[in-house]
């Protein structure tokens, strides 16, 4: 399974946080990979609409997230904001944000060769 995750918006634009992050489950430890599959399934990701509609009038500075999941020949893209109410998508978003953060942190401290997948 391959997930592409992009964050846009927020109170400030940061080039480093706006680049898409790609997560390939084949590169994850087995336990994390199956946890990710479970999150995608629990979110009923492939049944979710492509967008959840515009947020409330006047809302500003929220993040917009674009999540694309490719698995076994299927592909689906969902765009949501911080105001998403679906509990399953909220949990998936929480994982993706944390994962993106860990991957981006590598830009500050390159992983040591002995522990390439060492979490933060």
């Amino acid at each position: 399974m391959r997930i592409t995750f992009t964050m846009e918006g927020g109170i400030a634009y940061f080039p480093g946080l706006s680049r898409p992050v790609t997560i390939d489950s084949s590169e994850l430890l087995k336990q994390e990979a199956s946890e990710l599959e479970r999150l995608v399934e629990a979110a009923r990701f492939f049944d979710q609409p492509a967008t959840t509609g515009p947020p409330a009038r006047g809302a500003a500075d929220y993040y917009q997230y674009t999540i694309t999941v490719e698995v076994r020949g299927r592909q689906h893209t969902v765009r949501v904001t911080d105001l998403v109410e679906d509990a399953g998508l909220q949990v998936l978003l929480r994982y993706l944000r944390a994962k993106a953060k860990a991957l981006r942190a590598a830009a500050r401290t390159p992983p040591s060769p002995e522990h390439p997948d060492k979490p933060e």
């Binding site: 918006g9 927020g10 400030a12 809302a59 500003a60 500075d61 993040y63 944000r97």
Partner: protein, 335 residues
């Protein structure tokens, strides 16, 4: 002078609608209008430069029109429900702070209401004080009674989400994350950020700018200027003493940067291996929007946030100095 900026609240929106009409009258947009958004996005990502530009333009219109549809009153003259002058004799704050307890469901549970003593939780108490400082600027300097000038309660939620690196306005309340501790501290730490978020409410009440592209950027710009004025008023600073930075204190010590944005010296706020380099251009002519980006309002606000570039000789500068030095009551847009 009072409420001068309210005399013609539809001007900006009217211009936006005219601009959209002009865009739609261009034949080249027609094809893209019938394509579904995901296809446009695909073109925007993978097409030739010309295709990309057209697709992005159409996406912009599409999003803008959707925003307009959810804001049916935006083109109609605003009817004020303001009570009589007597009721405005005294500005009364009505603040309520709620705690999301690291969940993402709003509003959370109430932890401090008007009149209650400090809780000892910095996020709660900073939010409470920040709402107060913002209220004070708008009331003392502009006779504006809260967000809607009708004494609207000021609500905020703190501890939103887990490691949430942001603050936003959901249309009704301010929402603050605690930051992840890696890049960002809690978002209540910076008083101008609180002023920024509340000003989104003021802008929505006055102008109903659609939250996309240039109107979105103007919306952001107004929030930055008034966010900074909240801080300047609290510190009793003159405009030339102010740092005109947004978000001082938000970055952790690991980040190489001083703030989210600098209105004095755009493009110099941060340069960090993880966040990248502050891309804020000082002038619209140097604006470059990254390809595929559809929500970089805070980037394209660049030019208006530099007070000396929007109107002759720095209206925000004049506004800030007047208020701080002479106490003259003045009004933003037309001064």
């Amino acid at each position: 002078m009072r409420h001068m900026m309210k005399d013609d609240p539809t001007t900006t929106v009217g211009s936006t609608v005219n601009g959209l009409a002009r865009l739609f009258s261009q034949p080249r947009s027609r094809l893209y209008c019938i394509l579904p958004p995901h296809m446009l996005e695909s073109i925007a990502q993978n097409g030739t430069p010309q295709q990309r530009s057209r697709a992005l333009q159409t996406l912009a219109i599409d999003h803008t029109l959707r925003a307009l549809r959810v804001a049916p009153s935006s083109a109609a003259p605003a009817t004020r429900r303001r009570p009589g002058m007597l009721m405005l004799a005294e500005g009364q704050k009505r603040r309520t702070i709620s705690d999301a307890r690291h969940d993402q469901n709003l509003p959370g549970s109430v932890v401090r209401a008007e009149g209650a003593p400090p809780t000892g939780d910095p996020a709660v108490d900073e939010a409470f004080d920040g709402l107060g400082a913002t209220y004070d600027l708008f009331w003392d300097a502009y006779d504006r009674n809260s967000i809607d000038d009708e004494g609207m309660p000021m609500d905020a939620t703190v501890h939103f989400g887990q490691d949430y690196n942001n603050a936003f306005w959901n249309g009704e309340r301010m929402v603050f994350g605690d930051g992840d501790g890696e890049l960002f501290n809690r978002f209540t730490i910076s008083i101008d950020v609180m002023g920024h978020e509340l000003t989104h409410g003021v802008t929505e009440d006055e102008a109903q700018l659609v939250y996309f592209f240039q109107p979105g950027a103007l919306n952001e710009s107004m929030s930055d200027v008034f966010g900074s004025l909240v801080k300047q008023y609290m510190l009793k600073q003159r405009a030339d003493q102010a740092d005109w930075l947004i978000g001082v204190g938000l970055f952790t010590a690991k980040v190489n940067g001083v703030a989210l944005r600098s209105m004095k010296a755009p493009g110099t706020a941060y340069d960090d291996p993880v966040l990248g380099k502050d891309p804020q251009p000082a002038h619209m002519i140097t604006l470059s929007i990254p390809s595929g980006t559809t929500a970089a309002y805070t980037l394209i606000q660049a030019s208006p946030i530099m007070p000396s570039t929007l109107l002759p000789h720095g209206w925000a500068d004049t506004l800030g100095r007047r208020r701080a030095v002479s106490g003259t009551r003045c009004c933003a847009i037309r001064d």
